[in-house]
């Protein structure tokens, strides 16, 4: 297992290099530069600005400078947020994204898997239909509809939760002072979790129904095993495989790219930096986030593959 993990991490380094190089040149291919939005600048001023960020040098030289810096762990200064470095921005954005994203995924996994199992065990019964109808709605309603609706109901009309402030406010915080510090995160986490609950419950239901029809489950039941043990020990382990493979990239995505939810709730996460950086051609900022994103995906895929080895006896990692 360890040698497998090391081997995978060995491949990760060149992958990252390719990702960085491709992103660098793709970013510079996009029309316009970071200082083109301000049309009324003097040519001299633009020249000074370009010189300040090495943008006056040939592209290949800029690339060499950038890669050299990245190897030293320096992502450079941000071009739009001129008094901050990319590392500083990531250092403030990543913890927020991690906290909100991981909470949402955890909640979504717990609820989604439970709902999926419930639906599978009650296949084609009313419970199944209700759960799946709810799941379809969760998938169909996009977060840019759901999130503003939640702020309107819980923030404006009921005055229960803060809409987009980092300070606790609203009746919920007053009634449950112990939970006050988390109030700013409740709505965003729910908004992120709902679509995930929907997907996870559907995946779980599908996989469980498939597994419950397998011969080894019939054997287990024929041996007289308790239904609980059949479901929780034998069926679930195999039924979770598709969910696990979905969760890997989903975690990476939700942590780095919850753009819509972040902008509606004004969360200082990574997603908004990514979008702002791309729109404003902030090359170092976008590249910095791409590196984090690529790293997260590589890590999550590795973790998923190793979990497969644990969950599925047919998978041998050292083979």
């Amino acid at each position: 297992m360890l040698s497998y993990a090391l081997k995978r991490l060995g491949i990760a380094a060149p992958t990252m290099f390719v990702v960085v190089s491709l992103s660098f040149f793709l970013m510079h291919l996009a029309p316009g530069g970071p200082f083109d939005a301000d049309a009324n600048l003097e040519p001299q001023v633009i020249e000074n600005l370009k010189a300040a960020y090495d943008l006056d040098k040939p592209l290949i030289q800029q690339y060499a400078i950038y890669v050299g810096k990245v190897f030293k762990g320096d992502f450079g200064p941000s071009i739009i947020y001129q008094d901050r470095t990319v590392s500083q921005l990531i250092a403030t954005g990543l913890p927020v994204s991690l906290r909100v994203g991981l909470s949402a995924i955890l909640i979504a996994a717990l609820i989604g898997i439970s709902l999926g199992i419930t639906a599978a065990l009650n296949q084609n019964k009313p419970t199944d239909y209700v759960v799946m109808a709810a799941a379809m709605t969760g998938i169909a309603v996009p977060s840019f509809v759901l999130a503003p609706l939640m702020t309107l109901i819980f923030g404006v009309l009921l005055q229960m939760l803060p809409i987009a402030t980092l300070e606790p406010s609203g009746s919920f915080a007053r009634n449950f002072p112990a939970l006050a510090p988390i109030t700013p995160y409740i709505l965003p986490v729910i908004a992120l979790a709902i679509p995930q609950i929907a997907v996870i419950s559907r995946l779980t239901r599908g996989a469980m129904i498939e597994v419950l029809r397998q011969n080894y489950i019939r054997t287990a039941r024929a041996k007289g095993l308790k239904e609980q043990r059949v479901v929780w020990r034998h069926a679930l382990q195999a039924g979770l495989l598709p969910v696990v493979s979905y969760l890997g990239p989903a975690i990476a995505g939700i942590v780095t790219g919850a753009v819509v939810v972040e902008s509606i709730f004004q969360l200082p996460g990574m997603g908004r930096f990514f979008i702002q950086g791309a729109i404003n051609r902030d090359y170092p900022l976008v590249l910095g986030i791409v590196i984090i994103f690529a790293g997260a995906i590589i890590m999550m895929n590795l973790i998923v593959d190793m979990l497969y080895g644990l969950l599925d006896p047919k998978v041998k990692l050292d083979a």
Binding site: A39, Q44, D83, V156
Partner: protein, 534 residues
């Protein structure tokens, strides 16, 4: 009490504290806080470097240049208590207020201003608006590395006197001295920390407020600066600025009471707001103009008759009331009608009814050789924003009766800028927001050879008028010169103005002394919050 009497020495302080806590009106709980939204996260809090788009609101609160803005947005004395101008208009002498201090208590002297004006021009600073100061002797040369910063016409006569020498008289010099870019920066902090001197734990400023916290994309917190010379009259203790680009969130936060001042809201909600928040809604003209750039150098739009026909066919009043419905003002001039010391030129057709205008427009087009047999074909460029798309479609519809064949082309704003700079377009949606409450800022854009002259308009008479207007101190004659210039511009329809922008604000009624003004400047130091108990 008995115990206090028995041990008077120990009891006195305790008694005092108890009395203070019980009776003082201004305890911590009664702190006056203002929560205001800003457009986006400020690019930087360095006033010399910032583009100001979203930082200006913070910079005006935390820094104070020699001149500043009063509670109605008019230029008034700032860090300087007074100034004198030499009769030839070339020498400005500013006298600083006594005992000025930075927010860390360090004395603020004339030398700080000298350092700051040099820093703005230094090429390494890469200041966006260095060009504003190029009327100062040698400023342009310093920015272009042709002179040393010490050669600039700025010097400290003594600790409280700053003297600035100009190469040419500049009628808007005091306007420039009131912009956030003219703010002094603390040399002792800037030189110690370099580009990152504006981090909240380091930044030192000289305005009514000082930044204490900065959460990227979420909040900037500033508290009252005890070392500000007028701190006694600053009522609000703490100001929070929330960068909120999602307008739906702005409206919801305003309604929930999380924001006291909302700078913008979703335009499609305006009817609902008019019905439900009439007292909170503020619509006030500002210094922005929405217009169409027309390529004056490329057929078929190099013919003034064609440009004029296109402009005449636009039903601005109908469009503004039916299509946009956001309070904007129909526009026939480049200069905003609210600009100070100037009244705009309106072409004669502005007063004509639409049918008469259409007839004349058709005539102009056929004179230029376009008609049923040979329709005018143009491409209209616009960028991705719902309002711009609506406008482009409306334009095409209004020009259709003239037999004009319009191709709509949508691209990113950066691509629009590139096309503007390289002249790669026929006609293009454009906008300008003047940083100064002065007509010259608009009209200078169309001078021959100006970096911002994207229309290719070139007229020697126009250039002569503007050259004089830019260097004359007689404001009356100056207004007349600029009026003539605008007349030349609009009679040849070098650009096609469509409407003048308004600021759309939501202000809770408990925010006092909010005065709408064309500059959209409402410094926190003049406001107060008398929030009802919730």
């Amino acid at each position: 009490m008995l115990m206090f009497l028995a041990r008077p020495k120990a009891a006195m302080p305790a008694l005092l504290i108890a009395a203070t806590l019980a009776f003082a009106p201004g305890t911590a709980a009664a702190k006056m806080v203002l929560n205001r939204s800003s457009a986006a996260d400020p690019d930087t809090l360095d006033p010399h470097v910032s583009s100001g788009n979203s930082a200006a609101i913070v910079l005006y609160d935390i820094f104070q240049p020699l001149m500043t803005l009063d509670d109605k947005g008019e230029v008034t004395a700032g860090a300087a208590e007074s100034y004198t101008v030499s009769p030839d208009g070339l020498t400005y002498t500013f006298k600083l207020r006594p005992n000025l201090k930075w927010s860390d208590g360090t004395p603020l002297t004339a030398e700080d201003f000298v350092y700051s004006f040099r820093r703005i021009q230094s090429p390494e600073t890469a200041g966006r608006y260095a060009q504003w100061f190029w009327s100062v002797k040698n400023a342009e040369a310093v920015n272009k590395k042709q002179a040393k910063p010490e050669d600039m016409g700025v010097k400290a006569l003594d600790a409280r006197t700053v003297q600035i020498s100009l190469a040419t008289p500049s009628p808007i010099f005091l306007e420039i001295m009131a912009t956030f870019t003219s703010s002094p920066v603390p040399r002792h902090v800037v030189e110690k920390f370099g580009r990152e001197w504006t981090a909240p734990e380091r930044i030192v400023s000289n305005g009514a407020y000082m930044v204490t916290e900065r959460v990227p994309q979420t909040r900037i917190k500033a508290v009252k600066n005890p070392n500000f010379y007028d701190a006694a009259n600053v009522k609000i203790d703490e100001a929070n600025y929330f960068p909120t680009e999602n307008l739906g969130t702005v409206l919801n936060r305003f309604r929930a009471g999380e924001l006291d001042v909302a700078l913008n809201f979703p335009p499609d909600q305006i009817e609902w707001i008019r019905q439900n928040l009439p007292k909170e809604l503020h619509i006030a003209p500002n210094l922005g103009v929405y217009y169409f750039l027309v390529n004056n150098t490329k057929p078929p739009l190099n013919d003034p008759r064609v440009r004029k026909a296109l402009s005449m066919a636009i039903d601005r009043e109908g469009m503004v009331s039916k299509l946009l419905n956001t309070g904007v003002i129909p526009g026939y001039s480049l200069v905003s009608p609210v600009v100070a010391n100037y009244s705009v030129y309106k072409p004669a057709y502005a007063a004509q009814a639409m049918p008469a205008r259409m007839a004349e427009a058709k005539k102009l087009l056929s004179e230029a050789g376009f008609g049923p047999g040979k329709p005018l074909k143009i491409t209209l460029q616009f960028d991705t924003l719902e309002e711009n798309r609506k406008m482009a479609v409306a334009m095409a519809a209004m020009w259709k009766p003239l037999g004009v064949d319009v191709e709509l082309a949508n691209s990113e704003f950066r691509d629009l800028t590139r096309r503007a700079r390289t002249g790669d377009y026929d006609i293009m949606r454009w906008a300008y927001f003047s940083p100064f409450n002065d007509a010259s800022a608009y009209l200078n854009l169309l001078r021959t050879g100006d970096a911002s002259n994207f229309s290719g308009f070139a007229n020697a008479e126009y250039d002569k008028l503007m050259l004089e207007a830019n260097t004359i101190i007689d404001m009356k004659r100056r207004a007349a010169l600029m009026y003539q210039a605008e007349q030349i511009l609009l009679d040849t329809q070098a650009i096609i103005p469509v409407y003048h922008y308004v600021a759309r604000r939501l202000i809770h009624t408990y925010v006092k002394n909010w005065n709408d003004n064309p500059r959209n400047a409402n410094l926190t130091r003049y406001l107060s919050v008398e929030r009802p108990a919730r």
